[in-house]
């Protein structure tokens, strides 16, 4: 009975949403604000990657809010899962093959993550993606070694320093320029590693912050055995 009601409801919702969405033209040229961003990204921000330019430069304040949301989620998860008695991860050890190969792959994954967030303004990727890649490397170590521990104090120091770097760069824009998060550094030659002013600096800070946050989050979630 519940299934029938649910399916009927979904058919009504689906019919009207598809009916509405199909009125949006598909695959036509970029108009409006997207067109402006595409045409003036290199001139206004110095970054080659328009998506990064939008996320970090045009909508940098929004990204600061996004980082705050992620921080709040990590903190809230730690508060919800807090236990005085102290918890442990699963006692099951992985097999020898998994352990040996993850020991070899782990530094390479960390290197890839660093590459992705350092080159955020040149190639697809950026701070969030790079941080997530680093956290997956740590997850691999967590599930292969039961004794692998992360230093929580160091993680929270990295996280706070990265967050403070972001806000400090923002205030530097306010002091030396005209607005919060203004791009005050020289743009350099578009397409080179050291270009685009503050964009790579902010993305490196975001990469460290997201990596540390996601690592702490995974550690909290995996420690569920009393």
């Amino acid at each position: 009975m519940r299934k029938v009601i649910a399916i009927l409801l979904l058919i009504i919702i689906g019919y009207y949403s598809i009916d509405t969405i199909l009125k949006i033209p598909f695959g036509e040229g970029v108009k409006g604000v997207g067109k402006h961003y595409l045409e003036s990204t290199i001139k206004e921000t110095g970054a080659v990657n328009s998506v990064t330019a939008i996320v970090v430069s045009y909508r940098g304040f929004d990204t600061l809010g996004e980082v705050t949301v992620l921080f709040l989620a990590a903190t809230g998860l730690g508060a919800i899962l807090y236990d005085k008695k102290g918890k442990k991860r699963s006692l099951q050890n992985a097999s020898l093959i998994v352990k040996t190969s993850s020991k070899i792959i782990y530094p390479l994954i960390a290197l890839l993550g660093a590459y992705v967030f350092v080159h955020g303004h040149l190639t697809p990727g950026g701070g969030f993606q790079g941080g997530a890649i680093i956290a997956t490397g740590v997850l691999l170590m967590f599930i292969s070694y039961r004794s692998f521990e992360t230093n929580h104090k160091a993680l929270s120091i990295i996280e706070s320093l990265a967050g403070m770097t972001f806000v400090t760069i923002g205030f530097a824009g306010l002091i030396y320029g005209t607005s919060f998060l203004q791009n005050i550094l020289p743009f350099g030659i578009p397409g080179e590693l050291f270009s685009a002013g503050i964009i790579p600096l902010i993305y490196v800070a975001v990469g460290f912050k997201v990596g540390a946050e996601l690592t702490a989050l995974l550690d909290n979630l995996l420690k569920t055995i009393k």
């Binding site: 979904l10 045409e39 998506v51 996004e66 989620a73 998860l77 979630l221």
Partner: protein
Amino acid sequence: MIYYITSILLVLIGMYAVLVKKNLIKIVIGLSIVDNGIHLLLIAIGYVKNGTAPIFSKAGLQPNQMVDPVPQALVLTAIVIGLAVTAVALSLIIRLYDHHKTLNINKIRKLKW
């Protein structure tokens, strides 16, 4: 066209899981399927026929050959928020399981609708 319909179908599949399934983990999986459907829909709206990624990686790429970068930037934000929501929901589920020793929403009293 088919992209719009497929992403709406994904949203509907996720909503079906949220409405019908009794297991809390399956409900969270349904929520993330809804999330993914909406991301695909936004990306599809920004698509341009034969367009490339909005990155000026080679000389000679013109802005009119590229897809819309704005939906991609917004979806990047939405993915991060979706991750945060899923993580907090899973931690609440771990707590509920500790307390009630079950994940079935019918067996957890005071949660019925």
